[in-house]
């Protein structure tokens, strides 16, 4: 194997995002100890949001504008593909003190 090829494999391992098409990112948002973080997140239409619930409690990611209502059982994750642009405030229906915002660009 040529050294050049090795280098590009190494790069791909270190920066996997470089070999993934840029138009469909997966954005990970954590729910831990009843806090959503990051609470403010920007994304683009077509991106996948993956919420990771690290708590022993069930949570939801529920959009105030009803765009989504994603169930997050204890210590599980779930995803949602963003379809519309806009600023979406969402919260956990079970623990309404958990609030966050997604800014979805076209």
């Amino acid at each position: 194997m040529k050294p050049g090829r090795l280098a590009s494999i190494a790069l791909a391992v270190v920066f996997p995002s470089m070999v993934v098409p840029a138009h469909a990112a997966t954005i990970r948002i954590t729910m831990e100890d009843l806090v959503i973080s990051p609470a403010d997140m920007s994304a683009k239409v077509g991106d996948t949001i993956e919420w990771i619930n690290k708590d022993v409690f069930a949570h939801t990611a529920t959009a105030k504008n009803s765009d989504f209502d994603v169930m997050l059982p204890p210590q599980k994750s779930a995803t949602f593909v963003l379809k519309k642009a806009g600023t979406i405030d969402y919260y956990c229906r079970y623990h309404p003190n958990m609030k966050a915002t997604l800014k979805v660009e076209p």
């Binding site: 100890d33 009843l34 708590d55 022993v56 409690f57 069930a58 309404p96």
Partner: protein
Amino acid sequence: MLIRWSAAAAAAIMLSSPILLQKASAADKPTDPQIAHIAYTAGVIDINAAKQAQKKAKSKDVKAFAEDMLRDHEAVNKQALALVKKLNVTPEDNEASKALSRQASDKLAELDKLDGTAFDKAYVANEVAYHKAVNGTLETQLIPSANNAELKRLLQTGLKIFRGHQQHAEHVAAELK
């Protein structure tokens, strides 16, 4: 000194009056096995109250509230059991736990005699008072007394979630008026 501390804690939990909380001296502090028992017992009490409410409640909001209590308190208690197992600690029964259980069973019997809206109001009012009292005890006595860092953290998470329950109960109580 344990009995004096326990009686004070039980009184504080039941009467939901922070004034009654007596500042425990170092010698009065409950041990981790006792704290685990009290916290677990407090959870079981709210689970039983929620099960009663699921059968008897009339209002949709009260039913939903009871469902939330069941889900969260069962999750906390499951976590508590996993923790005591991991730490190889046996929860130790004590006067505070006994007093809590006695008074809770009296409350269940009292609520059992009520129906419809009268039940809903009494259940939610008790949930407000109960969470307020438990939160006060967690904050001023159980959390400061806990030695084990993981137990302390679980109690802190519990306090956070139970404060949300108290707000929720207060909101439902206001809606029922």
